[in-house]
């Protein structure tokens, strides 16, 4: 029996049981026990999110239609452009949507503002199957706020033909990465192309055992020997011309540079697969896990969850919807047709059957770091990015980056 049907049945049974027992219940029933006492018939809910592509919109709409059919609810998907602006205006103005997308990056801001409801006990029917790293991404101060809808990770996209020609295997260590970049750099092709910003450079810091901050984002760790090692490795790659920024090869981002054949390797996330299929269908590509650094493997995960508003008018119904969408079946239905990954380990193989080439992305779930800081920390990341750009342009050094970012971070973290 489908999840939604199960909900309705339980709800109906509970209501019937209560009615038959003759007493009206203690009036507080619905408020204190969110599970199992909710009738979804005719309930109107608004799910606010953004529109990624025609295919994704259609998949989500199909899922919602099924939910509506089975429960009699009336859930509407409301994709809006300029999501942050629209959502914040609705929240600040006092008209929050019932369920809305929450990017892991925005979670701390929303929690601190008190607009997100934490997951009540027992509402999710299969939460053990969710990857720990993803659950961690949506846990703040020990409380889990929302189940993830899907996720992406960073991996190494490379040109299999170029590698075969040079007799190389995809690199698994930093040294191999460097060697491969060197061997593959030619006059009109760079070895590696990578965006010049912390969402890319950060993986190397983690691979060296360092990072911008500690996992709880309470103190800066950029000024540590490990972080320094990571930074110097990257800086050297750029300095020696083995790595380039996308703009150096006339591209807007690394995916485009790789698609145009201007680089043999690129560090990007799952979305690059869709972009390559759409804009550069003739380009051959393969994916490998990011090479391990001195402290092991590391990557970033970019993930979004379904959050329920703290002031939602029907929290029980909202959570029922969230549970339906994030169940293993829901997750698979949603991610079947395009290259984002389901958040449940149990459907891992089903998804891989459809996308065998993308195993490297999926493997990243084991050792991914969340993309998340604290409110107000964006300024510090901005300082990092600014100096990273300066290093690549040749007018700054790793020391200056560390010093500036560290002092900015201390300021903000207090």
């Amino acid at each position: 029996m489908s999840r939604a049907k199960r909900w309705s049945a339980v709800a109906l049974a509970a209501t019937v049981a209560v009615a038959v027992a003759g007493c009206g219940g203690d009036g507080n029933g619905a408020a204190t026990d969110v599970t199992g006492e909710v009738d979804l018939q005719g309930v109107e809910l608004q799910l606010m999110g953004w529109s990624s592509s025609a295919a994704e919109d259609e998949a989500l709409t199909r899922l919602l239609e099924k939910f509506n059919e089975e429960t009699g609810a009336n859930v509407r998907f409301n994709p809006v452009p300029e999501y942050d602006t629209t959502l914040q205006t609705a929240l600040a103005g006092g008209t929050p949507p019932d369920v809305f997308y929450v990017d892991s990056y925005k979670l701390p801001d929303l929690v601190d503002a008190g607009v997100l409801a934490p997951i009540p006990d027992g509402v999710l029917t299969d939460s053990e199957g969710i990857y720990p790293s993803l659950r961690e991404a949506f846990t703040y101060d020990g409380v889990w706020y929302c189940p993830p809808k899907d996720f992406s990770t960073l991996a190494l996209v490379y040109d299999p033909e170029a590698f075969a020609e040079a007799g190389l295997e995809p690199p698994t260590t930093w040294q191999e990465l460097r060697d491969a970049a060197e061997a593959l750099t030619t006059d009109d092709r760079a070895g590696l192309v990578m965006g010049v910003e912390y969402p890319r450079w950060g993986v190397f810091l983690y691979q060296a055992g360092g990072g911008l901050t500690d996992p709880d984002v309470t103190e800066m760790t950029i000024d540590s020997p490990q972080s320094r090692e990571g930074l110097e490795f990257i800086a050297d790659l750029y300095a020696e011309g083995l790595a380039v920024s996308p703009s150096e090869v006339d591209a807007g981002w690394a995916g485009e540079a790789f698609g145009k054949g201007r680089a043999a390797m690129a560090i990007e996330g799952n979305w690059v697969v869709n972009a390559l299929a759409q804009d550069f269908p003739d380009r051959k590509w393969a994916v490998a896990e990011l090479p391990a650094g001195p402290a092991g493997k590391a990557t970033f995960t970019f993930t979004v969850c379904y959050g329920v508003a703290a002031t939602a008018k029907n929290p029980a119904a909202s959570w029922a919807l969230v549970d339906y969408l994030t169940s293993p079946e829901g997750a698979l239905a949603w991610t079947q047709d395009f290259a984002v990954m389901p958040a449940h380990e149990s459907v891992r193989d089903d998804w891989l059957a459809k996308w065998p080439d993308l195993e490297a992305f999926l493997a990243g779930a084991e050792y991914a770091h969340k993309w998340q800081f604290r409110p107000g920390f964006a300024d510090v990341v901005g300082v990092f990015d600014e100096h990273a750009q300066a290093i690549v342009a040749g007018n700054s050094t790793v020391d200056k980056l560390i010093e500036a970012t560290d002092s900015a971070g201390r300021d903000i973290l207090g």
Binding site: D84, T85, Q88, L91, A92, G93, G94, D109, L110, D112, A113, G114, V115, S245, S247, E248, D250, G252, P375, G376, F377, A378, D379, V380, G382, V383, D385, E386, Q389, A390, A393, N395, A408, D411, I412
Partner: protein, 341 residues
């Protein structure tokens, strides 16, 4: 025959009849709407600038902050202040570069396209107006393509491979380097204003910002041209004809007759230009996102990022308030500089 000019009549008290009732009746509807939908939100914003507002919950639930936001932006050393300083510096050069050029270009175009003997006036006017209405995506697409390292602009420029889109070097710095000054003198490098050294203030617009300025001029000249065209309709052609008969050249007619008679409209376009350029946001958001190295950061862009990416609504409001005073000052300055003498 009436021989007094506009000004003469005004001083005689005849022009503006003292008509308080009519004056207020005429302006009341518009004023009411302005008060409700513009002044009120502005006042709320000004108030919010003295609060710690996260931009996510209601501003009325925020905690008081006194002048903390202003301190962070103006007096406390830190990344917020230096970012704000960079934004001010960048926008200043942007205003200086865009406003005069776009005003002058639009005026000349309007005059040319107003000549009665010109065939195909309608076609030309619409053609020159097109960049103002063409989708900014198409414009940005062409822009990035033209300014690529292997693009057209570099192909026709003598001396080559300039990186336009990712180039943080300031024009003034480049000029100084040409003139032999590689390193700044100590007094420039060490004196600081708002967290930036004077040398950094004197960088000039970065190459990328310059490219964006060219783009802006190209897209807004059409709109200004339209306004000038409308203004030119109010000039009686017999004045010009008389001047032609009397032997004045085109240039003389331009400066001695057209310009003075277009004074109110010129003031309008200049003011519009100043107000608009100090709030530049769309191109930054679409093309450079503040980079490279924060050389295309502007106050309006900072407002957006602080409010919607950093949960710092109070800071965003404070930036808006400071920007407001800057714009008003520049407007008054512009008015004084172009006053009738």
């Amino acid at each position: 025959m009436v021989t007094l000019g506009q000004r003469g009549l005004a001083r005689a008290g005849g022009r503006g009849r003292r008509n308080h009732l009519a004056g207020w009746l005429f302006t009341a509807p518009a004023l009411l709407g302005l008060l409700v939908f513009l002044v009120l939100p502005i006042l709320v914003t000004a108030w919010v600038s003295t609060r710690h507002w996260n931009g996510i919950t209601s501003p009325f639930d925020s905690q008081p902050a006194g002048l903390d936001n202003y301190r962070e932006l103006l007096t406390e050393p830190g990344v917020r202040r230096s970012d704000f300083a960079k934004a001010l510096r960048n926008n200043f050069y942007y205003v200086l570069g865009v406003v005069p050029v776009q005003t002058f270009l639009a005026f000349v175009l309007a005059v040319i396209l107003n000549q009665r003997f010109l065939k195909g006036r309608g076609f030309f006017r619409t053609a020159y107006y097109f960049p103002s209405i063409t989708s900014s995506i198409a414009v940005a697409l062409i822009f990035t393509f033209l300014f690529q390292i292997n693009g057209l602009i570099n192909a026709v420029l003598p001396g080559g491979r300039v990186n336009w889109l990712d180039n943080p070097n300031g024009l003034l710095h480049l000029l100084f380097r040409q003139l032999g000054m590689e390193q700044p003198p100590a007094w420039l490098a060490e004196t600081e204003l708002l967290g930036l050294s004077l040398w950094e203030w004197l960088s000039g617009p970065s190459v990328t910002l310059t490219a964006i300025m060219l783009l802006a001029i190209w897209t807004t000249t059409g709109t200004m041209m339209l306004i000038f065209l409308a203004g030119l309709q109010n000039i009686n052609p017999s004045v010009e004809e008389a001047a032609i008969v009397d032997g004045a050249t085109a240039v003389q007619r331009f400066w001695r007759i057209t310009v003075p008679l277009m004074r109110p409209v010129i003031f309008f376009v200049l003011t519009l230009g100043v107000i608009g350029t100090w709030q530049v946001f769309d191109q930054i958001f679409a093309i450079s996102f503040g980079g490279p190295q924060k050389t295309t950061l502007t106050p309006a862009f900072l407002i957006y990022t602080q409010l919607f990416a950093n949960s710092k609504g109070g800071i965003a409001a404070a930036i808006a308030v400071i920007l407001f005073f800057i714009i008003i000052s520049f407007t008054l300055l512009q008015r004084w500089l172009t006053r009738e003498r």
